[in-house]
Point group: C2
Chain length 162, copies 2
């Protein structure tokens, strides 16, 4: 397993993962019908960097890193991670999150923030806690879940060890 920076050539595979996850509507703050062009902009161009997890030539996961708030907030980064359904429960999210924390420090960030984690996404909440993130905020009914309706969203935060 290798984590490396994504190139435009990787986008075809990234799009499959992105579309699978975003069209489900239960984790990411993107419209379920986000187009391929918009996904390209959001995942490949708007962030500061985008990475892929590759195993035997297959792309199984991807993440981005970007500055969360400008100016007085620019020492805090934000990341988003996606794992292909083909590769769940293999520790890819953990590997990506740990990798992203190292990259964050390299890029000069001091902390990492997740702005919008649906409480219904137990797996993610549990994993981020295990990886040292604290729940620092709870947004009441801020996430409109496709089957559960309005559920709370969590803000999670970690100061990075340098």
């Amino acid at each position: 397993m290798q984590i490396r920076e994504a190139t435009e050539i990787d986008f075809e595979e990234i799009w499959k993962i992105f579309h699978e996850i975003v069209s489900a509507g239960n984790t990411y703050a993107y419209p379920q019908n986000t187009s391929k062009e918009e996904a390209n902009r959001l995942w490949m161009h708007l962030p500061r960097k985008t990475y892929v997890v590759e195993e035997e030539g297959q792309i199984l996961g991807t993440y981005y890193i970007k500055t969360n708030q400008g100016g007085p907030g620019s020492h805090v980064c934000n990341c988003g991670y996606m794992v292909s359904s083909k590769a769940r429960n293999k520790g890819l999210a953990t590997s990506m999150c740990e990798h992203s924390q190292r990259i964050a420090i390299e890029l000069g960030y001091k902390a990492m923030q997740f702005n919008f984690v649906a409480v219904s996404n137990d797996g993610a909440v549990k994993l981020w806690k295990k990886l040292g993130f604290d729940i620092v905020g709870r947004l009441p009914m801020a996430f409109n879940h496709p089957s559960q309706g309005y559920v709370d969203a969590l803000v999670m935060f970690k100061w990075l060890e340098t």
Copy 2:
């Protein structure tokens, strides 16, 4: 005093207020040296709508309203308010915030969120509380204040009454 939608012609006056506030670096998550062109994009074009407070032909304040998170988060809006130093303590922020809540409902939003209120900005914190916003999150040392150094930033939230 009148609150109305901003036009491009208003931007010269909006820029004076924007620059005055943003260059101080103690309230907004924009770089202190944000250019006029970037301010135009951020304040006039990126948001869904922008308003100005006008009194006797003078623009004394301005605010924007936009969707805070896409997809499953798109029922929550975000606003930013700026008052000229010439017009402080006249209730303009209150008027704009109340106005923005009515506009938010008209636009179909159900709640309003402020993502990044520096705790050092006592006046704002007190005012948003008075206007019904709850502190739902506290981001540790997420705001790099120009004189106080790293201070916490608050996330404030209000479900709107319809």
